[in-house]
Symmetry: C2
Subunit: 304 residues, 2 copies
């Protein structure tokens, strides 16, 4: 049986990297040549932005393939451009699949059971057609979800047993105001700790051969002390760590929740890689992305 | 200055209805004639499902216009069919706008500040183009959001001052396991109550002429005692109440959090209206939807 955590661990082992490249395109991050080509073909329209994003993503995927364990498109960047943006996302994921790179769709989806099923269909599975067809969705391997709604907003994504897809539940996010709710609580546990306890409960019996479960957790690099506490509550959970680099988290911060066996953490970086060409004022945006990723891999290796 | 709560109150006053019609199409709910037409034109594909959904939605909008205060498409139903589904959503919202009916996009979106901005652009605002264009998004008036990430996941949606758009923050959802997290907490407050306190804090200075703010709250009809408590914490907040009908909430349950001035609550119903033709075994699906909505309006009026 396939298991999403085993698949991701295989990708980590094959590439030697725990880095996740965030494919979060924005017009301001696009190389000028791609902008000009898209404007010439489509004008300054949603279709033009989508075409430029797709050319950027394909080039980035070519540049980072084999050097990162996964890709993480941020769905908001695509949804800002409506159905044209979503079509670009579909083509991006299809291209990643041709390279065999696992994709984490960062959508932070959440809803009640019968509705959450539709999100599962759209991002991880297949939806029913009008006359019995099974219509495949985006084809991502993982989806970030928000579990504020409790178990019946989670089980539609996970099913009864592990398979080829998994989820990352938001536990402790990397943003400055994350603590508004997540740090609140009585004397016994914060909201984030309660969420971690729920993740641990939902994960029972879901470990793969690699020792990790298919219900991961988002734990921001900007709060290393909390990452250590949360690891105690979720010993076999894969942590997806945002906040490295641009948001201020160091490699040591990002790895604060890593297990003693060196597993259980993947670290996202978006702008630091895809916009590295701007920082270095380089026309070779693919080379700049690859070099930035290699530097990140080295930084993480030193800190491990 | 426009104010989303004033606009919605005007729609309530004009229609005499606090009912919100949930446009949550699923293949199993479609009238056979629409299915056959879509299959003939597109086959059993995502485009076929999207075409059938659009014909259904347009017919439903014609049927309920003037008798409900707003429409609430559930984004998951559309995202299950990828970019074709999202295109159907765009055309549905465009059609609703021609009828002047406010639209609540039910996406429960959430992310950190810089990313939440993109969701705001995609659903409520406009996104930047490649060369200075401002590219309008879906054009909904309201978006449901999940505020687990705290203030900086909310302010990108609301801006500094009220305008023509607003949000509904998930406070207490209607699903059976809502309490897994939302009812937890110390002796002083549950997580849902803490969220309500945050909503109240974020809403300061945002009341419209109608007395309500543009930061509403989702408070499920299935928990009337909690709705009363939450009203005490959020006196000027518009409650969007799911769970009436199919999920078991009565009219009295749905109105448990209504203010003493009879304002501050709108009540969603999806399947009870859009699938009324199935319950009554009627080929006139539009007439069945209209009759079901009129019955809901009467039920709510009696309970007020």
């Amino acid at each position: 049986m396939p298991h999403a955590a085993d698949d991701l661990q295989r990708s980590i082992d094959a590439t030697g990297s725990i880095a996740v490249v965030g494919l979060d395109p924005r017009p301001a991050l696009l190389p000028p040549a791609l902008v000009q080509a898209a404007l010439a073909a489509h004008g300054d329209t949603q279709a033009g932005v989508a075409a430029a994003f797709l050319a950027f993503n394909r080039g980035l995927i070519d540049a980072v393939a084999g050097k990162c364990c996964a890709l993480k498109p941020q769905l908001a960047c695509y949804e800002a451009y409506g159905s044209a943006g979503l079509r670009c996302l579909e083509e991006t994921v299809a291209y990643a699949r041709t390279k065999g790179i696992p994709v984490i769709a960062d959508g932070k989806r959440n809803d009640i059971g019968s509705t959450a099923e539709h999100y599962q269909q759209g991002f991880l599975g297949a939806a029913p057609g009008l006359a019995g067809a099974s219509l495949p969705g985006l084809g991502a391997q993982w989806l970030t979800i928000n579990a504020y709604l409790g178990a019946d907003g989670v089980t539609p994504f996970t099913g009864k047993a592990p398979g080829g897809t998994g989820v990352f539940v938001l536990v402790r996010t990397s943003n400055p105001s994350a603590g508004d709710l997540q740090d609140q609580g009585g004397a016994d546990a914060t909201v984030a700790e309660r969420m971690a306890t729920l993740v641990q409960r939902w994960s029972e019996g879901r470990r793969g051969a690699c020792g990790l479960t298919d219900i991961g957790a988002v734990v921001g690099a900007t709060w290393p002390a909390q990452a250590r506490t949360l690891r105690g509550l979720m010993p076999d959970t894969l942590f997806l760590v945002p906040g490295y680099g641009a948001q201020g988290g160091s490699a040591a911060d990002a790895l604060a929740g890593m297990r003693s066996d060196g597993r259980g953490t993947v670290v996202n970086n978006s702008r630091g890689i895809i916009a590295a060409w701007q920082k270095h004022k380089s026309a070779d945006w693919q080379g700049a992305a690859r070099a930035a990723l290699e530097a990140m891999n080295a930084d993480l290796a030193t800190a491990r």
